[in-house]
């Protein structure tokens, strides 16, 4: 059943942003998708660039020489940030999507406190871990110069 061919008119990708009125989880949904796409783009390039090692030490060292500049180091760091987020948030999503941490079905009593409230601590812990990972990587980049 393809409804789109009939009448339904989706409001488009801008609705992902929700005009600043999404809940926290709504934004995590968007960031999870974007970081996932970014990681896939990187993985595709990564496969080809690291393939250079098959050409021997010289070719590899040449490539590393070329790659050794602050801009690329920073971009690499961004990949790490995307990974840290996508990994930890992904773990949270796997937990939730198998219906853990959202509470059992319950009689709704106003004011409704549903699954969103139940999983908030999990979400916050996940975000703190992401923060720590991003900071550790940033420290590595800036202070240790790697």
């Amino acid at each position: 059943m393809a409804v789109s061919e009939k009448t339904m008119r989706p409001s488009g990708i801008l609705r992902w942003l929700g005009g600043g009125r999404r809940g926290l989880e709504g934004y995590l949904y968007v960031i999870h998708r974007i970081s996932g796409l970014a990681l896939l783009m990187f993985l595709m390039m990564h496969v080809f660039f690291t393939g250079v090692r098959l050409l021997g030490e010289e070719a590899w060292s040449g490539l590393m020489e070329m790659a050794n500049n602050p801009v690329l180091h920073f971009l690499e760091y961004l990949v790490y940030v995307a990974f840290a987020f996508h990994a930890v948030n992904g773990l949270r999503l796997i937990i939730i999507e198998l219906a853990f941490g959202i509470g059992p079905p319950d009689e709704p009593v106003y004011p409704y406190k549903g699954s969103i409230h139940k999983q908030r601590p999990l979400m916050l812990i996940a975000m703190v871990i992401v923060g720590i990972l991003i900071f550790a990587g940033g420290f590595d980049l800036v202070a240790m110069g790697h």
Binding site: R15, G23, Y29, V30, E97, E107, S115
Partner: protein, 266 residues
């Protein structure tokens, strides 16, 4: 208490024309709902304004609209709760618009129909009543409070990019029947539930649960639905039954007998 003037900014839509915003000053008093405000506009200022409503008490699910950017029920939202200056009203997003604030809900009901939202009876013993324990009832009761207002559909980010996504309301309805101990339709429903444009597009943005005016918590239902589908995949899903058997107990003797049938069975 004196009235306050709140500006209603309404997004108006006429078929074949560009949408336009129109503003109406409305005298608002405490306790007044958005729906009351709309009525007042229609009576005193502009009789051409169109919207849907019926019960005006959050039961029929007709008056879903986007109020200050958030989908909800006009009859369930008090004006002064959200603003004392201006509120904006738009038709539900992710739906085609018929006119002004009237969405065409047909696509939602088509999807609803496609998941077979009714009890599908399995084998049962003749005329035996289908008993259900309180636990079995709680398993789906919350999800059966849905009034099909479409607020969750308007809030869902996946529906915004994929018009064919089943959406929170139909998925919740599917789970409501799947979990009913009297139902045996899981195997029929899982065909469309396991299809494209279904659960695999939901990553718990939970926008649906945030806006649902009835506390149905569609996002919760969908995650439990996912669990059931995964369990089914690995052969570990158990039917919500069996229906508890046992003696019906001894009826009290002070209960009067039911009256005779007025129409006799042939």
């Amino acid at each position: 208490m004196t009235d306050q003037t709140v500006t209603f900014r309404v997004r108006r839509h006429q078929p074949g024309q560009e949408d336009a915003w129109q503003e109406y000053p409305v005298a608002v008093h405490p306790g007044m709902t958005v729906l009351d405000g709309l009525q007042q506009i229609k009576e005193q200022q502009d009789s051409s304004l169109a919207w849907r409503h019926s019960c005006r008490m959050g039961i029929c699910g007709s008056c879903g609209m986007v109020i200050n950017g958030q989908p909800g029920l006009a009859c369930n939202t008090q004006v002064l709760d959200i603003s004392d200056r201006r509120i904006s009203l738009e038709p539900l997003s992710n739906f085609p618009v018929a006119r002004d604030l009237v969405p065409d809900l047909e696509p939602m009901f088509d999807k609803h129909r496609s998941i077979k939202p009714f009890l599908i009876a399995g084998q049962q013993d003749g005329d035996e009543p289908l008993r259900q324990s309180p636990r079995q009832l709680t398993d789906y009761l919350q999800f059966s409070y849905c009034i099909k207002c479409g607020a969750c559909m308007a809030a869902c980010p996946t529906l915004a990019s994929d018009a064919d996504f089943l959406g929170p309301m139909p998925l919740t309805a599917a789970h409501r029947y799947n979990r009913d101990s009297r139902d045996d339709g899981f195997d029929q429903r899982k065909q469309s539930l396991g299809d494209h444009h279904s659960i695999s597009h939901c990553h718990y943005a939970a926008e649906c649960s945030k806006v649902c005016p009835k506390g149905v918590d569609p996002a919760k239902a969908i995650q439990y639905l996912k669990r059931d589908l995964v369990l089914d995949l690995v052969g570990l899903r158990r039917r919500p039954g069996p229906v508890p058997q046992g003696s019906p107990g001894t009826p009290r003797d002070d209960i009067p007998k039911a009256p005779e049938f007025t129409v006799k069975k042939p």
